[in-house]
């Protein structure tokens, strides 16, 4: 930019000195160079300054009227600013009776067309270039987010159809069938069907009402209850007023499943799991607490699922507006998973 300006300054000065020579005017080369330099250097400085201003305008666009006004301002402002140093230098180098005001008005009016054209051109080119750049950036970000979302969806689906859970449930059904407990078989098959349907639908619908989510959780728990009987004690404590709140679908079931998988210490001690929900300061707070050995004793996450998947899903849906934390439970032993979401009624 400055190199170009320098070349322009030298060429233009040379041209002016020649013109002056032809008209026979007595003008030194120094004033010509100085005024020309001030003119073009000011323009190049302006071009540099206007880029961040323009970028700001593009990245945080105000309302339409303000935006158009700002663009016109950026195009016309240099017509007022550029003559200032020009007039100043004109006054200093030519001296004599010409005041600063005279030099300023002279250049401002004499060069008005050049200045307006240059200002508009610079504003136009910067606006166009930066706008294009911004659009490309947005496009890439959107594509990236989309890819992330589909991966999360795929992972969720895989997590929902946790094969270990599925085959153990089917094994329970086979045992019940062999014993001729037809009613139990029917109930369990229906619950499993409900859960599978919810899982398949949740790969399309990202959010559901708490009511729907709790129904799926109950179906899951009913199956686990058949598998573990009195070794598993789960309480769900969600106030009725929260049933129409919006939550990510199949959020609770994997959290509870995680608690069950890590919570048992042996084959006989019962495990207590509590699911709770409350609203606090426009935040929906969900917690899953167990009285197992606690997070410090959790081995590597089996099957590569666990909480990371849920965390990624929350980030995809709410950005930084949601969080998931795993901590020791308040009562000393056991684990507590807390999910904080923006509180959104249906």
């Amino acid at each position: 930019m400055s190199a170009t300006a320098l070349v322009v300054v030298l060429l233009r000065s040379l041209q002016l000195a020649q013109m002056a020579g032809q008209t026979g005017a007595q003008v030194g080369w120094k004033p010509i160079l100085a005024t020309q330099a001030s003119f073009w250097v000011t323009w190049s400085i302006w071009a540099g300054v206007s880029v961040p201003l323009m970028r700001r305008l593009i990245e945080h666009p105000p309302r339409t009227i303000l935006r158009v006004g700002s663009l016109i301002g950026l195009a016309l402002l240099p017509s007022i600013l550029v003559p200032i140093p020009y007039g100043l230098i004109h006054w200093l180098t030519f001296g004599g009776g010409q005041s600063f005001g005279f030099g300023y008005i002279h250049t401002a009016t004499h060069d008005v067309i050049t200045n307006v054209l240059l200002g508009t051109a610079i504003a136009g080119v910067t606006y166009g270039y930066l706008g294009l750049q911004r659009a490309r950036h947005l496009e890439v970000t959107a594509a990236h987010l989309n890819a992330q979302l589909s991966k999360a969806q795929l992972d969720t689906l895989r997590a929902q159809l946790n094969p270990h859970f599925l085959f153990n449930a089917l094994n329970s059904i086979a045992v019940l069938a062999r014993r001729g407990q037809a009613a139990d078989v029917e109930r369990m098959v229906t619950q499993l069907a409900g859960l599978l349907r919810h899982a398949l639908e949740s790969s399309k619908e990202q959010v559901v009402t708490m009511r729907v989510e709790l129904e799926a959780l109950r179906q899951y728990l009913a199956i686990e209850q058949v598998r573990y009987r009195d070794r598993l004690v789960v309480t769900v404590d969600v106030p009725d007023v929260l049933l129409d709140r919006v939550v990510p679908s199949l959020l609770l079931q994997p959290l509870v499943e995680n608690g069950i998988r890590h919570g048992f210490v042996d084959g006989s001690q019962p495990l207590h799991v509590a699911v709770r929900a409350r609203v606090e300061a426009a935040r929906l707070i969900l917690s899953v607490v167990d009285d197992g050995p606690g997070p410090a004793h959790r081995d590597d996450p089996p099957e590569g699922l666990g909480l990371g998947n849920t965390r990624a899903r929350l980030a995809g849906l709410y950005g930084s507006g949601a969080s998931l934390t795993l901590a020791p439970a308040d009562h000393g032993h056991g684990a507590k998973v807390t999910v904080v979401l923006p509180d959104r009624p249906l």
Binding site: P163, H164, L166, F167, N168, L170, N171, S172, I173, A174, V175, L176, R178, R179, V226, R227, Y228, R229, R231, F264, V265, D266, G267, S268, D299, D300
Partner: protein, 259 residues
């Protein structure tokens, strides 16, 4: 007719009962015990001494593999692993010709397993069986990175020792001593065999009779004739063979504690 005394180990009550029911329906099979976890099984096995063990792989506490690893009876009982879903383990079972059942368990498939394992129990070949079981346990994918914990049988109980808690291991003839702070556990295994199982990034054999946890090394001092002394953070001093000193220093530089 076949005559087998079997034990079932599964933490899910319904699955356990279901398998017991299937087994009892099979002629010649007597179920002599059903346990809800590995610890209960290990305590009970001394008493019932079964011919065959049906073990669920996924259990809280010690899993099915760890239970079998902790078995000391001679001859080893026949083992049939039961799993709901575990593709890697299944490949390992097949490679090592160890019997397994998939849930839901069918009577037909159970019958095949009983016949096969019955033949093993009656036949000789115990040495081979022991070897293929050892190969199975060693080849399991979760152990490829080295054992995360060691199972030590002590009087009346099973102790699980996470390997990261081990400061150093002292080898004697046919056993080794796991030094964990003030505690010492005796493991019935040679130092060389244990070395094979441990995570080689964390543990290093510094001497014919010593393995150290690199995370617990406080300093390495020079000793006589080029030998070295490892000073552990606990203050314990362990001798380093001359030939291993250089390697030890290099590995200490590269070592990053990932815990």
């Amino acid at each position: 007719m076949i005559d087998l005394r079997v034990v079932v180990v599964d933490d899910e009550p319904l699955a356990r009962e279901g398998l017991v029911e299937l087994l009892e329906a099979y002629p010649g099979v007597t179920v002599v015990g059903a346990f809800a976890d590995a610890a209960a099984a290990l305590a009970g096995l001394e008493r019932v001494r079964p011919d065959v063990l049906f073990v669920d792989v996924q259990m809280p506490g010690l899993n099915g593999f760890e239970l079998v690893e902790a078995l000391t009876s001679d001859p080893l009982p026949g083992v049939v692993f039961v799993t709901a879903y575990d593709e890697y383990a299944i490949r390992a079972f097949e490679v090592n010709a160890i019997d397994y059942l998939l849930k839901p368990v069918t009577a037909e498939r159970l019958g095949q397993a009983i016949e096969r394992v019955g033949a093993h129990v009656r036949g000789a070949g115990d040495r081979d069986y022991r070897a293929s079981m050892a190969a199975l346990l060693k080849g399991l994918p979760e152990r490829a990175q080295g054992a995360g914990r060691l199972i030590v049988r002590e009087v009346g109980q099973i102790v699980v020792v996470p390997t990261r808690d081990v400061d150093w291991i002292e080898g004697a003839d046919y056993y080794c001593k796991l030094h964990c702070g003030a505690k010492v556990h005796l493991l019935r295994e040679t130092l060389g065999s244990l070395e094979q199982r441990l995570d080689s990034r964390r543990f290093m054999r510094v001497h014919r009779s010593a393995i150290v946890n690199l995370a617990r090394v406080g300093a390495v001092e020079a000793h006589l004739r080029g030998e070295g002394i490892v000073v552990l953070t606990s203050g314990t001093r362990v001798k380093v063979t001359r030939s291993r000193r250089e390697e030890l220093e290099r590995r200490l530089e590269d070592f990053h504690d990932t815990e």
